[in-house]
Amino acid sequence: MKMDGQIRVKTDARYKELYNNMKNNFVVGDFHELFFVCACIGYRRKKRKEIARGDDRFWSRTITPSEWGCYYAMLLEDNNYDFSMIMDDKKVLAVIEEYANSGMEILIEDFLNSYLLPGSKEKEPQLDPTCSKTLPKDFLFYILEQSEVSS
Amino acid sequence: MKMSSIYNATPDDVNALIIEKLNSYPPEVRELAICAVQLSETLPETAVADQLLALVRKLARPQEGERR
């Protein structure tokens, strides 16, 4: 629980383009933010999924203390407040990666679907640049809606 | 509206009107003018001029009708 900055955070290689697109289209500021959103969604739905083909996405040093705090909280709640479960940041992030992986699936299915290039969803989802103009706002609105979704 | 005027005159009336208006002029002027108008009804300008020249010569001859 040192908020270790030396860990490479992974996502599924499939989402590489989507991560880039979301950042380049100013939907999120940086990768860690999208990762955080996905983790929250996955966690809220209590869905974890192993990453099929891991791909280093960002360094853990970009994760903010608040985000770390949330990750620790998730793990604590998951493990009956056993603090030993959050002592190793690598292990913490490994769990969170699985939540984020699942969260991304939900995000695509629920929301991003209509903003993707047709046909890209199944392989490597990519944003359709022509319909991403209002995406930042819609994205925020979607996230806000998720807070009202019961788990 | 005036009835005996150029306004409602037919082409034939126009000549009568012209003749009427020329009454106040000396007879040879009147004669030459009337002849000019009458010839003009059928002939082009140059042909009229030719015929008028002949008439002028005739009218300008010193005759007993010298009175003014």
Partner: protein, 680 residues
């Protein structure tokens, strides 16, 4: 002359065969036909068709400098459908005049050769059915004369009242005088007299040549030479004046066009300013919107935190409880307990033996404590979560506020964009007009007009001098004549010819004055019928001056033209043109179909009302050419009330740029216009 039917075939915009039955059979009282169509649909084309059919002429005076090529009569679509083949265009008119029925057809054949179209008159056919019912076909070479007897070709254009002509007459000046002079000369109908004057002038010249050769009377000869020279100079100056006036007319026309374009610019200037303001406003809002978008992006993590708010709250509350219980941080350090257990000795010095109660108690303590790192971490976590928990509600509010703000900005942008579209549409394509360039061009034109006008003034002064000189010479000549040898035949001939020329000129002048007076009288009568009550009180007489300028006298006989309104000026012009038309008809009524390209422009309701009421009574037939802006609810109501409205034709534009004539029932049209809709 009453136009009963007009049949057009491939003529101008009218592709194929199209018929206009202008009078309802058996209903001669309903002599008003409305032809309704947008500009360019062929309203004036109908008048052109009439003139073409009657006289074989393709030009109207309003065509001005338009090249012949642009006045092509054969329909383009028909030519395109028959490339390289001759296409016939024709106009057939059926009209009644003095009991006779005339059926006149004139055809033209056109053929396209590359980009050129060659047109040639093909056929003229006139069948005349007399009062007795006998029909005869007129020899084609006599058709012109027969038609001229119905209506002299020289006066034909008085029966087309177009806005431009009316506008020209409302402006005082050379142009107006020229127009009026031309009109009056055409009406005089004294061809023989004019021919006679020309002939006598030739005689005078020839005789003076003779006189010069003989030189029997030096004094007379000298005088005549001077007179001749004077007259030549006068002729030259008159020609020069005419030229100058033509130049002036052209320059003024160009100024008018330039002014229109400048006006257009002026008209759109406020729109341009408005658009600029909107564009600036749009930019500001756009910036705000992108700012809002940025701030929304920064809220993504805060929003996501809300998703797991229950978890954060649970964990926070758990640690909080632990803290309250004293478990975190634990009162006794774990490493101390571990040492006691390892060394089997308490901090008080007593030995602690495994398996005793004391040992068990200490073991229990050990379970309740955690190591320092974990405790520090828990406390840190507690701080972070506390921070997050305390902001949940504020964050949610803020995010919602930002979303709403952004939506409002987008809405505002949409509104401005719509407004900008509307303004741009209103501005049209003229916006890029370089006003400065136009203004420079205008001031150049204005300068040349000033120069031309100075030259005109100069020439007029010279002319005046020559005229005075001419009069003086004539007087001298008369004196000389008295002294001249009565036997000098040459002198006598010459003098006689000159006196005759003067006499005929005097008669011509008298006729002109008479016609002018009559036109003035008729125009005055019509003027009074068309004016509103106030105008009728103040404006008494329309006068055509000797120089062909128009004047209005008030009821005390004083010139009043300078004081009348634009609408009154327009009414005056209409009255004057109507007087010309009536004079041409030589009747108390205009005996020709009057084509009026709706001159309602500047007219007040009262004037419109009078015009609509009076024109059907003034003319044998009124063909009103109207656009949707000219013929609306009010006009339809006024026209219907006259009981004279018989026909309505709609000129509908087709996809291929042609015009289709559609006759509509006047009651239906009336109902549509009354409901407030444009017919178009």
């Amino acid at each position: 002359m009453i136009l009963q039917k007009m049949i057009l075939e491939n003529f101008r915009q009218f592709y194929g065969r199209q018929e206009l039955e202008l009078m309802s059979p058996g209903d001669p009282e309903r002599n008003v036909t409305v032809v309704y169509g947008e500009n360019g649909r062929g309203k004036t084309g109908l008048f052109r068709a009439l003139v073409f059919c009657l006289y074989g002429e393709r030009r109207l005076s309003q065509d001005g400098d338009v090249p012949d090529k642009e006045l092509q009569l054969v329909n383009m679509s028909a030519l395109r459908a028959n490339p390289g083949k001759p296409v016939e265009a024709s106009v057939e008119l059926i009209f009644t005049h003095k009991g006779g029925t005339y059926n006149l057809r004139r055809a033209i054949v056109g053929m396209s050769e590359g980009s050129n179209v060659i047109e040639e008159i093909k056929e003229i056919r006139l069948r005349l059915t007399g009062v007795n019912g006998n029909t005869r076909t007129i020899d084609p070479k006599d058709v012109g004369e027969v038609i001229d007897r119905v209506l002299d070709r020289r006066v034909k254009e008085y029966f087309l009242f177009d806005g431009e002509k009316i506008e020209r007459l409302t402006r005082a000046g050379v142009e107006q005088r020229r127009e009026i002079g031309r009109g009056i000369r055409n009406l005089l109908n004294v061809d023989a007299l004019e021919n006679a004057i020309g002939a006598i002038r030739r005689v005078v010249k020839s005789l003076e040549n003779d006189l010069a050769k003989s030189a029997s009377s030096e004094q007379l000869y000298q005088l005549m030479q001077r007179l001749r020279k004077n007259e030549e100079e006068k002729d030259g100056l008159e020609k020069k004046l005419e030229q100058l006036e033509e130049e002036r007319r052209k320059a003024l026309k160009e100024i008018e066009i330039t002014d229109k374009r400048l006006d257009e610019f002026k008209e759109i200037r406020h729109l341009l300013e408005k658009r600029k303001a909107y564009e600036q406003q749009f930019q500001t809002i756009e910036q705000q919107a992108s700012e809002a978008m940025r701030s929304m992006r920064n809220m993504v993590c805060k929003a996501a935190t809300l998703i797991i708010a229950p978890t954060i709250t649970n964990v926070f509350e758990y640690i909080e409880r632990q803290k309250r219980k004293g478990d975190i941080p634990s009162e006794i350090r774990r490493d101390l307990i571990q040492r006691i257990l390892d060394e089997h000795r308490c901090i008080c010095g007593n030995e602690i033996i495994e398996g005793t109660d004391a040992y068990k108690n200490i073991l229990e303590w050990l379970k309740r404590t955690s190591d320092a790192a974990v405790q520090d971490a828990a406390l840190n976590l507690w701080r972070y979560l506390s921070e997050i928990c305390h902001h949940f509600s504020d964050d949610e509010d803020l995010i919602q506020k930002r979303i709403i703000e952004h939506s409002n900005l987008i809405q505002a942008m949409d509104n401005i964009r719509r407004e900008l579209d509307r303004i741009s549409k209103e501005i049209g394509g003229s916006e890029r007009q370089d006003a400065t360039e136009l203004e420079a061009h205008r001031s150049y034109l204005q300068k040349s007009v000033t120069t031309i006008e100075a030259a005109i003034q100069n020439s007029e002064a010279q002319l005046k001098q020559l005229e005075n000189e001419h009069e003086r010479l004539l007087a001298l000549l008369k004196e000389a004549k008295l002294k001249a040898d009565r036997n000098d035949e040459l002198s006598r001939r010459s003098l006689l010819a000159r006196e005759t020329l003067d006499a005929l000129n005097a008669v011509h002048l008298e006729f002109t004055r008479e016609i002018k007076n009559i036109i003035g009288e008729i125009a005055t009568k019509i003027f009074h019928r068309l004016l509103d009550d106030e105008g009728r009180v103040n404006l008494h007489t329309i006068l055509v001056n000797d120089d062909y300028s128009l004047e209005v006298l008030d009821r005390w006989g004083r010139p009043f033209l300078a004081n009348i309104s634009a609408g009154q000026r327009q009414i005056m012009s209409i009255a004057f043109i109507a007087a010309l038309a009536m004079t041409a008809s030589r009747k108390d009524r205009i005996e020709m179909p009057l084509f009026m390209d709706t001159p309602f422009g500047r007219l007040s309701y009262e004037h419109r009302k009078n015009l609509i009421k009076e024109v059907p009574a003034l003319s044998s037939q009124w063909i009103m050419l109207a656009t949707d802006t000219e013929f609306r609810q009010q006009e339809a109501q006024l026209l219907k009330a006259t009981g004279k409205w018989g026909k309505f034709f709609f000129l509908r534009g087709t996809n291929d740029g042609n015009t289709r004539v559609e006759e509509k029932d006047i009651n239906t049209v009336y109902a549509i216009l009354q409901s407030g809709d444009d017919y178009l």
